[in-house]
Each structure stands twice: as C-alpha cells, then as structure tokens.
C-alpha cells in the first residue's frame, strides 16, 4: 500500500477530524451571530480535501476554492489563522480586509488565495504552474474546482492552456452534487465530469471522494506526471455536500434519503475503520485525537477572539505595492527633447 508511513496516515486522520471540528465551531459561531457574511463549510468533503493536499510537497502550490478548509489545514494553515479570518481580525492572514477562506501564503506554505467567483482561481493556478515550468522547477500546482465551476469558461480555457503548454497542474473536481441549490442534473448532461479530460487530451480519473487514501493515491500519480513534464491531469472526486450551500441555507431541497445514504459513507468514519483494520487506530487513540482537536479549536477560538479588529485608519494602506527602488537617480531621468519628435504629416 501507498508510500505513507504510520505517522502520515494518522496525520491525515487528525487533519480530517480537525477540519470537521473547525467547521462545526465555525457554523456554531455563525448561528450565534458572531460571524458576518457567508460561511461555507464542507462536511463530507474531508477525504477529498485532506487526501489530495496531503500529496503535495514543500514548494508545491495549493489553489483551493471556497470550501477547502481541509486542504488549507493540510498545507499548514493553522486553526488560529482560520478563526481569526472568520472573525476578520487583525491577526487573520488578510487582516480583516478579505473574508471567508481567502487565505494567501506564498512564502512558506504555498497557498494561493481563492476569490469569491468560482472558476477564476483556475487560470491563476495555471499561471503558478507556468512559473514552475519556466524556471524548470519540479513543483506542481493542485487546484480545486466544484462541479458547478467546471461549467465556467475559465475551467475550459485553463485546462486547454495547461494541456497545450504541458503545465504541472492537477485539477481536482469536487463533485459534491450541487452548485448552490442546483443539482448536477441541471448543470450538465454527462455522468462523469472526469470525461471532460478528453476535451484536452489529458488523463481523467474518477475517484471515490470519500476515500482519503484513494484520493491521495490518484493525486500522487497525477503529481508524478506533472513533475516529470508530462502536463496536467483532471481528477473527479465523487462526494457529497452533507449540508446546505452555506450555513444560512436550510438545505430543504436536498433529499433526506440521499443525505442518509451519504452519512453511511462518512469519510472520517470510513477512514477510521480503515486505520483500525490496519491496526493503526484504536479507541484510546481516537479519544486522544479527539482531545487534541478540541484543544486546537478552543485555542484557535480564544486566539481569534482576543485578536483586535483591524484599525480603520489602515483602510486605504497598501493598495499598491511600493514603487520599486528607482533604477536611476532622479536627475539621471531625462526629459524628452520636446520638439524632436518627427510628426510631420502625421495626420495624412
């Protein structure tokens, strides 16, 4: 079985549990009126987000979308940062300017920030992959997109561009059954979104999105292809959004039977059974992880609540990056010889 050591396997377990606990706490805060705006969570998607992002190496870039907390945590973004971001405090990665999971760190954890517009993160991810290729680095970019997002023009343009230029890009489609309230049946006519790979001449895979190790493994394979200059892959993780679109969504349009069915296949439960079967997890360890996770969440909440609000006086700071150091001193900058421009007969 795959190249993961015991600690790595348990690490995935921890991250999936942490993802769910952070999300549960976030929704609770939302329902208590402590969070402004829209809260997207992803109960049921933990295997996809954590499994895929665990296949990344240092220097590889993650381009998540709005629901990919698991991938952020796997990349090393901390619960403290997440909670401060939800509360829009000054210690949040975007210091209260931006919200949701729009978190950036290209210095040590290589995360591109998602935007509020589905699909638009994909060309940016491809550009990161282009930079790697241009510099001859053996890194890859892992981008997520939703089933809904695959219908956008940016998805198509990006996948075609990545394929044509052999960019090291892995695109994971989180097929979670819905785009907001629209079921997949009203979004496209095909059975497998992975079949869209045929439009670009790249490998397409369908994977059980509730099986963390299956997602890990296929991502790993795609990463190997990308790293060796053979271009992008498209992976469709079949999974289910076990909640409404946002924390404000009653989800009354989702059939209870489907919810029940998917609950039987809860990715965290499935993964725990698997680790138990491998003899890696037992009740004591489950309890221990539960405690560590609860502590991490409590610590994050306390951190975020203690963090001050951003200072309104800073509102207009840093619109632009500072001017580069002028390459020549001021008096070396010459002025155009005003009348030297040959413009005679210009209008004829």
């Amino acid at each position: 079985m795959i190249d993961l050591a015991r600690d790595d396997l348990l690490g995935i377990y921890y991250l999936m549990g942490l993802t769910r606990a952070v999300e549960d706490a976030t929704r609770e805060m939302y329902h208590q009126g402590q969070i402004q705006g829209t809260v997207y969570t992803a109960r049921g998607l933990e295997a996809t987000t954590v499994g895929a992002a665990s296949a990344l190496q240092p220097g590889d870039v993650l381009a998540p979308q709005h629901r990919d907390l698991g991938a952020l945590l796997a990349r090393g973004i901390t619960p403290r940062e997440i909670m401060a971001q939800w509360l829009r405090r000054v210690d949040a990665p975007s210091q209260g300017r931006d919200g949701q999971l729009h978190i950036a760190d290209m210095a040590t954890r290589w995360v591109l920030p998602s935007t509020g517009l589905p699909g638009l993160a994909l060309p940016v991810a491809a550009g990161a992959a282009l930079a790697m290729k241009t510099r001859g680095e053996r890194h890859v970019v892992l981008a997520f997109v939703g089933d809904g997002g695959t219908n956008t023009g940016d998805f198509h343009e990006t996948m075609n561009l990545a394929a044509t230029l052999d960019l090291p890009l892995i695109c994971i489609i989180e097929n979670n059954g819905y785009a907001a309230r629209t079921p997949t049946s009203s979004q496209f006519r095909i059975k497998h979104l992975a079949d869209r790979a045929a439009a670009y001449g790249i490998p397409g895979h369908v994977v059980d999105g509730n099986d963390a190790l299956a997602v890990y493994e296929i991502t790993q394979q795609a990463a190997e292809i990308a790293r060796t200059g053979r271009g992008p892959s498209l992976i469709e993780a079949k999974t289910y959004r076990m909640q409404g679109h946002s924390a404000a969504d009653s989800a009354n349009y989702m059939p209870p039977s489907a919810l029940d069915e998917w609950r039987q296949r809860d990715p965290i439960e499935l993964y725990a059974r698997r680790l138990e079967n491998l003899g890696l997890l037992d009740d004591a360890l489950i309890l221990e992880y539960g405690t560590r996770i609860a502590q991490a969440v409590q610590d994050a909440l306390a951190f975020a609540r203690n963090s001050p609000a951003p200072d309104p006086a800073t509102l207009t700071d840093r619109l632009f990056a500072p001017d580069p150091v002028p390459p020549t001193t001021e008096d070396e900058i010459i002025t155009a010889p005003r009348r030297a421009v040959e413009r005679e007969g210009i209008w004829n």
Binding site: Q36, G37, T38, R88, R89, S94, G96, R97, D98, G99, Q100, H102, T115, G116, L117, P118, G119, L120, G148, G149, N151, T152, G153, D154, A179, A180, R181, T182, S186, Q187, F188, H245, A248, D249, S250, N252, Y253, A309, P310, D311, P312, A313, L315, T316, L319
Partner: protein, 333 residues
Amino acid sequence: MELTNGAATTYAQAVSDALREEMERDSSVILMGEDVGDRAHSHQAITSGLQARFGAERVIDMPVTQSALVGAAVGAAICGLRPVVDLPDADFLSGAFNPIVQVAAKMHWRTAGKLRVPLVIRCSSGMGAHDGPWHSQNPEGWFAHVPGLKIVAPATPYDAKGLLKAAIRDDNPVLFLEHHYLYRRLREPLPKEEYVIPLGRAEVRRFGEQVTIITYGAMVYHALEAAETLETEGISAEVLDLRTLAPLDHAAIAESLAHTHRALIVHEDTLTAGLGAEIAAQIAEHCFTDLRTPVMRLAAPDVPYPAATELEAAYLPDAARIAEKVRRVLCAG
C-alpha cells in the same frame, strides 16, 4: 388613485410583484438565472413561486456560467423574448462584461437599428452582504461609460416596482441594480393599480435651498438623515435621488442647482472615475455660473470593498460624513 389598504410592501416584494405582473401581461417575458426556479432561491426569494406559475420554459434555471448566461439572454432578446436575467450579486457582472459591453450595448447602433435587445439584468448591489471584496460592489462605475446601456438604481419599493416594469418594457439593455441593503428594510404601501415609472427621471426626495445632495440607492436615506441634521443647524439641503444612472437626468440636476447653487454628490461606489465624476463634470461645465462653491464628491475610497465591519464602517459614506462634507461645500469657494 387608491393605495393598497394597509399592507405595506417591501422593496424585495415590490421587485417580485413587478416580475409577476409583467410575466402575466406579456408572455414574451422570461426569467433566466442560477437558482431562479422554485428550489427555495436564496436571493431574497424574489423569484419564488414564479416557476410554479409560469412554468420551467419561462423561468429557466441555468448552470453556473460567467459570460454565456448574459450572452444567451441577448440572443433570446434579439429573437423577440424579453429576458430578465437574475444575477444574485452585481459583482458577477464582471464575468459578463464581454456580452454586455461588446454585444448587447452595441447591437442596436451597429445594426443601424435593425436588431433590438430588450434585456434586463437584475442584480443586487451595494452594502448589506458583509462579504468583502466580491459581494458588495457597486457596478455602475464599470458600466456608466458604456454607450447603449441604461442603468437603473431604485431607492424605494415604489420605484423598484415602477422602474422594473419600465425596464422590462424598454427595448434596450438595462442593468437594474437592486439594493441589497434595502430589500427587507423598507416598506411602503403601493398603489393597487398598475403604474410604470419612466426611466431617466430623477426625483427630489426633499426640497431645500442652499445645497443639493445628489445621490441614489441606499445613500438617499443617509442623505435625508444628513439633511435633517443640517436643518437643525439652519442649513437647508435638497436631496435629489437620481433613480436612473444612465442616461442621467441632467435637467433635474440643473434645475436643482439653479436655486441651490451648491452641490455634493454622494455614492457608495469608489471615488475615482465613478459616476460622481460625470455628474461633477456636467455641473462644472453646464452650471458654472450657477455655482457659488465647488461641486464636491463623497464616495468610498479607492480600495476594494472590505470584509471587517470596522473597515466597512470607515469605507462607506454615512449621514455624519455627508453632513460634514455639506458643511465643507458651504464654506468652500
């Protein structure tokens, strides 16, 4: 004319009523959008019940798109339908910039009048979502410069209903900017009888003598509050609600300036090259002799829409800042 007995109508309901009435009146009116059907639409439930009433052929759920939703509406409009496109957030207009600007707005002129595009794009704009840089933008600054587009921004339930009906009946592409913040916060009794408010006419919301506050959308209420405060200081401010942002009602602006001689333009959208610039430029050129003090603008500063409440409060004009700026207008010059 009789007003409805008692039951006041919200801004959101007024929009909803206009849609229903126009769909009843004219079978060529259709709705298109993501989640526009009866799956408990989140967007203020404005289109709820319309699919049950008018069928899935006229209330059409669309997949997520960036440009094709609007592009398809343009095609349907050319072919004799009157599509009303539903974009939950005005921010998403950026993804449809191409079909709006390059196709819809140019179609009538470039075909020398052969083709018409009777299209309405409805979206909620402005503050209220508390969702940061992609969910509260005011898009009029992107589009006011585009020849061939009309832009409407109602401030009251009455106007929302009457102007939406006019927009649907108009044979040109119209951006209809509903205000997110006002959907459920305003109510007024609406006439039982049908009414339509012509596009292109501003409305004086409060008469005054010394300065005109020119604004629209939710800022109308801040301006009214500011005017009340200023009244206690002996300053008489007129509040002009533009209602239609393109084409602008220059006559109403000039008429007001002719007796107040001073102007402050207020908008939620960011300052530089925003709609206020055009109004100020018009005033500066055409009301020059009327003007006693410089025309000024109050708008959001030139940065993206912030997420944190504390930043948002600093970002948006409010009654206090409007009043303060009016005082500056009066002293200047």
